[in-house]
């Protein structure tokens, strides 16, 4: 018995020693890394003083379903770092990103959150684009008093009352009343809902259903799917049988295209509404099947710089294309860029890089032009974006939905 205990203890001890050694090794390499950028003092308070680097933690999914999305978000964020550092960084302090792969898993998100705070001593956090990960880790960021801008779309993590957590992108809850209003204008009275079960997709669908009730729109059926499914004909059949005037769709990842294909294949040709922007790869896979899909969103993903009309967007896309030779793959790139710009603006307003000051300064940002439109953080909700645009997809192109209606296309569709 004693011997066992001693062995177990010995093992535990040696392991912990090993771990610490590893850890110490890691921290030292870490310092080397940062010193190449600028001299680093061993300050643990985290406040950035002259000669220091302002570190922004950036957890994003880099493997799994959303890997490419996370990658394009990181490319935009790195681009922002370059631009900001060229202009002198935050109040003269150069900034740098520490990128992590949160694998879209909340467990990883929590582990990374602790690592960023304790090992990397981050001054601010950008991301994740996975809402459930912000939900899991947001409490940790908030407790550590680190200004955070999440890039997920879901309302839930902003409802936790975390005063250090902000959003510069869209809150899908905001777009739902907008969508139901559009439906009413188009005389849509019955809607079938198709939704995913993850936090973002589910919450959007729930908000939509609530808003539809308020607007007097009947929800004929609510169908769901689980990630990884490839066949939705059962759900589609049920939806079509309920005879809706339109379909509202709240999905993620590759599901969108397959669902659109099967919906059209089984003969539903009316308008479909999507909870968020439809990315280019969905259009590529689904082809004609995403014709007449409508969504309310701040921006769309452009396939060339010329397509963009907004000057800010044009400028960003040009920079991005120059740097990488490709166009942003997903609108998460816009979200990360906007978040970085908000941090920058906040550092200017605060006049210091103190976390507390930056947090307070974000709430003061008003009339700030971003890729998604005017940002205004002054209403105390910590949400910056309050405006939307309407789009419809016709033959693989994003068109302005309101102009499309004005041109009388809706009656053509009915025929």
């Amino acid at each position: 018995m004693k011997k066992q205990l001693s062995k177990i203890l010995a093992l535990g001890l040696s392991l912990t020693m090993f771990l610490t050694a590893c850890g110490a090794g890691k921290t030292s390499t870490k310092t080397e890394e940062t010193t190449t950028g600028a001299a680093v003092s061993e300050s643990t308070t985290g406040t950035a003083e002259a000669g220091e680097v302002f570190v922004i933690g950036n957890p994003q999914p880099l493997t799994g379903v959303n890997a490419q999305v996370g990658e394009s978000a990181n490319m935009a964020a790195e681009l922002a770092v370059k631009v900001i550092n060229k202009e002198g960084g935050f109040n003269g302090v150069p900034i740098k990103l520490v990128n992590y792969d949160d694998q879209g898993s909340p467990e990883e998100a929590v582990k990374i959150a602790n690592k960023m705070i304790q090992v990397d001593k981050v001054d601010a956090i950008l991301g994740s684009l996975t809402s459930s990960n912000v939900l899991a880790a947001g409490g940790i960021y908030n407790e550590a008093k680190i200004p955070t801008i999440g890039t997920g779309n879901s309302p839930t993590w902003m409802q936790q009352g975390w005063e250090y957590v902000f959003r510069a992108g869209l809150n899908t809850a905001l777009s739902m009343p907008h969508v139901t209003e559009k439906m009413l204008n188009l005389d849509v009275k019955k809607v079938a809902v198709f939704r995913g079960l993850d936090d973002a997709a589910k919450t959007s669908a729930e908000t939509f259903i609530e808003e539809a009730k308020k607007a007097g729109i009947e929800v004929t059926t609510i169908e769901s799917y689980t990630e990884g499914d490839t066949d939705f004909s059962g759900q589609v059949a049920k939806m079509i049988n309920s005879k809706p005037d339109a379909v509202f769709c709240s999905t993620n990842g590759p599901t969108q295209a397959i669902f659109a294909k099967q919906l059209r294949q089984l003969g539903f040709n009316k308008l479909c509404f999507n909870r968020e922007g439809i990315p280019v790869d969905t259009i590529n896979v689904a082809g004609d099947a995403v014709n007449n899909w409508v969504f309310a969103y701040p921006y769309v993903v452009y396939s060339s710089v010329e397509e963009a009309k907004d000057p800010e967007m044009k400028e960003f896309l040009e920079l991005y294309y120059q740097a990488y030779g490709v166009m942003p793959f997903h609108d998460c790139a816009y979200r990360s860029w906007d978040a970085m710009m908000v941090f920058w603006e906040a550092s200017k307003i605060a006049g210091s890089n103190d976390k507390e000051a930056i947090k307070d300064a974000i709430s003061k940002i008003k009339d700030f032009k971003s890729l998604g439109g005017m940002l205004d953080f002054t209403d105390g909700t910590r949400e910056g974006l309050h405006t939307l645009n309407d789009y419809i997809i016709i033959d693989g192109k994003y068109l302005d939905f309101n102009e499309w209606i004005k041109a009388g296309n809706i009656t053509k569709l009915a025929e």
């Binding site: 177990i8 093992l11 771990l19 590893c22 493997t63 992590y100 909340p106 459930s132």
Partner: protein, 327 residues
């Protein structure tokens, strides 16, 4: 006589020193500002218990399970939900949930015990998927479904273990208790029956061992271990979501066990530590992680079928030649 006494004393001394160092480790970690180590060590403690549970059913009694994430989930959600609605202290809910998992484990093992190896793995996969589906799409959303579930931290006499450094001691004590429990179990009559079944179930039957009952018992005990660690996980991370309890988690447990070495006292420790450290080390390589992981796993399977601990023993045997104490 004199020598034995001396040995005993020096052993006790060694124990005390090691215990002291483990107890003081947090202070040291705090001094060098490496608080993050607590996170990893806490996860190591949790996984050691979970993998030890799997070792009882797989390593000792020779039954495969590719669904242990289900017991992990039952422990985590069981305890969290129980605490939310009854406000029973967290440690108690963890134990209750672990007992619940043991009962469910026995219920699964009763029909499963007659299946051969391969099909037992399929049955456990199905069981794991069913539990996952129920957790992810629970009636009345009592598990929070895909949105996740915030949990309370463990509190002992009103003292909340709400940071990883406070959790450290709780984890350390739990690991010691569970490892001693496991060791005593293996040395007992029950443990010998498990091993007999693993070696040859027909012969064991002939020896008068009730094979089926012992198989069920192995599953139940194993479920208890893994579910308790699930409870620890839930109240340590303070947020759970179905993602953590997917099929790949079951594979992870098994990987840790095989990595470390099966049917040994230290295999689960070696496995949990090496795989978790590997995960940390591979974090830098981001998107190649799964690939490297697969390759390393393959290498270990092909080159080191005894796991790390087996390899360590081989080396130790070579050094010591004779008179090794067998583990």
């Amino acid at each position: 006589m004199n020598l034995r006494l001396k040995n005993a004393i020096s052993n006790r001394k060694k124990d005390l020193i090691i215990l002291l160092v483990l107890l003081l480790m947090p202070v040291f970690l705090n001094v060098i500002h490496f608080e993050y180590a607590f996170t990893i060590v806490s996860f190591i403690f949790i996984y050691i218990i979970a993998v030890s549970g799997l070792d009882i059913v797989f390593g000792y009694s020779g039954q495969i399970s590719l669904g242990h994430a289900a017991f992990f989930a039952i422990g985590a959600y069981g305890s969290a939900i129980l605490h939310k609605y009854t406000h029973i202290p967290v440690i108690l809910t963890m134990i209750i949930a672990a007992f619940l998992a043991a009962v469910i484990g026995a219920g699964l093992a009763y029909p499963a015990s007659k299946l051969v190896f391969h099909f037992l793995s399929l049955a456990t996969i199905a069981f794991g998927e069913i539990v996952y589906q129920l957790v992810a799409q629970s009636p009345y959303e009592i598990t929070g479904n895909f949105t996740g579930f915030f949990t309370e931290s463990v509190s002992i006499f009103g003292y909340k273990l709400n940071t990883y450094s406070k959790f450290y001691y709780f984890g350390l004590i739990s690991v010691l208790v569970f490892l001693l429990m496991k060791n005593n179990l293996i040395k007992s009559k029950v443990g010998r029956a498990f091993i007999a079944i693993r070696e040859n179930s027909h012969a064991a039957d002939g020896m008068g061992i009730n094979v089926r009952n012992y198989k069920i018992l192995a599953f139940a005990i194993s479920a208890f271990f893994t579910a308790f660690s699930g409870g620890m996980y839930a109240h340590c991370v303070k947020f759970i979501s179905p993602d953590t309890f997917m099929y790949k988690q079951s594979v992870m447990f098994l990987t840790m066990l095989l990595f470390g070495g099966t049917a040994s006292r230290f295999g689960p420790i070696f496995g949990a530590v090496s795989v978790l450290i590997l995960n940390e080390a591979l974090r830098a390589t981001e998107k190649y992680q799964l690939l490297i992981y697969g390759v390393l796993l393959l290498i270990v399977i092909v080159v080191l079928p005894g796991g790390l601990y087996g390899a360590y023993q081989d080396v130790a045997v070579k050094f010591r030649k004779k008179g090794v104490n067998k583990c």
